[in-house]
């Protein structure tokens, strides 16, 4: 019987190309528990007006007259006129 040399397959440098590695990987993936699907609530891209903290309307702006009085008359208005 003639001698038939044994063929040796060299593993590829890229582990993903290796049949051994890919086989292990497949096995691991198969044993991992399947993740439960999560439904996330997606926020709308445009916020509501009430959520815009930095935006102001001139109509909403008011100045307390007591504060103005204190600034204009820090010493107070005297009762003698």
């Amino acid at each position: 019987m003639p001698h038939i040399p044994k063929r040796v397959t060299q593993p590829a440098s890229d582990p993903s190309q290796s049949s051994v590695t890919s086989g292990v990987r497949r096995e691991v993936m198969a044993t991992q528990p399947r993740k439960k699907l999560e439904i996330k609530k997606v926020e709308p891209p445009i916020k509501k007006k009430s959520q815009m903290m930095d935006r102001v309307s001139p109509w909403d702006y008011d100045v307390d007259p007591n504060e103005v009085e204190r600034t204009l008359f820090p010493e107070g208005l005297n009762s003698n006129g």
Binding site: M52, V56, P58, P65, V68, G81
Partner: protein, 226 residues
Amino acid sequence: MGESATADWCASEEAPAPSQDARQLIKHCVEGAWRHLGWRRLLMTGFLRDVLVRHFSNPRFIEEPDLRAAIWQETAPTGILIESIWRWRGDLTEKRPAVIIKPNAYKNVRVLHNDFVGTNEEGNECFATIWVGSHTLFCIHGSGAGAEILGAEVQRELTQFGPQIARTFNLKKFQVTGVGGISELEEATENFLVPVTVGWAYEEVWTLEPEALRFAGMKFTFNLDC
């Protein structure tokens, strides 16, 4: 700041001609109303508008070089919009800077008992009281830096001429009380505003003239002989 943003605020090569519309404003409207009716909040709104219209009607009056192209005109196209808040429309401020004037709350400060000053030589009672309030001038522009520049221009004009304004128009006080932080305008897209608040105080004086002579008393006679 990018080139497109700065280009909005660079003065053009040719400065616009002074607006002729502003010349007649203060003398014929505000001063006349003040002399006839005395101070009131609506008059103060008009007065502040007229001061700013006059200021922005001529490039010579404008301190900030980047604002010298923003010349006010009564009709479109105007370089700057100056209006009271009830005449303001958001779409008008899309393309140009604006100053929107809003009257705030005002209060009575009583400095005399029942506001009573005394009786004059004709026998009429004289009264006086003081009203304190404020206006906020919203300096609006499409860029934040533009709003800051406009706010500073308005604040400096009113602060520095404040003593003269108070003297001329017989105000107890006229003073920029504060400049608020910069905010984004709610109504329009990508517009910024800087609020400049002006406080004022004026005296309201009045006299009550009775239509008939003062009631001095009543004499009673009793007939005790009955």
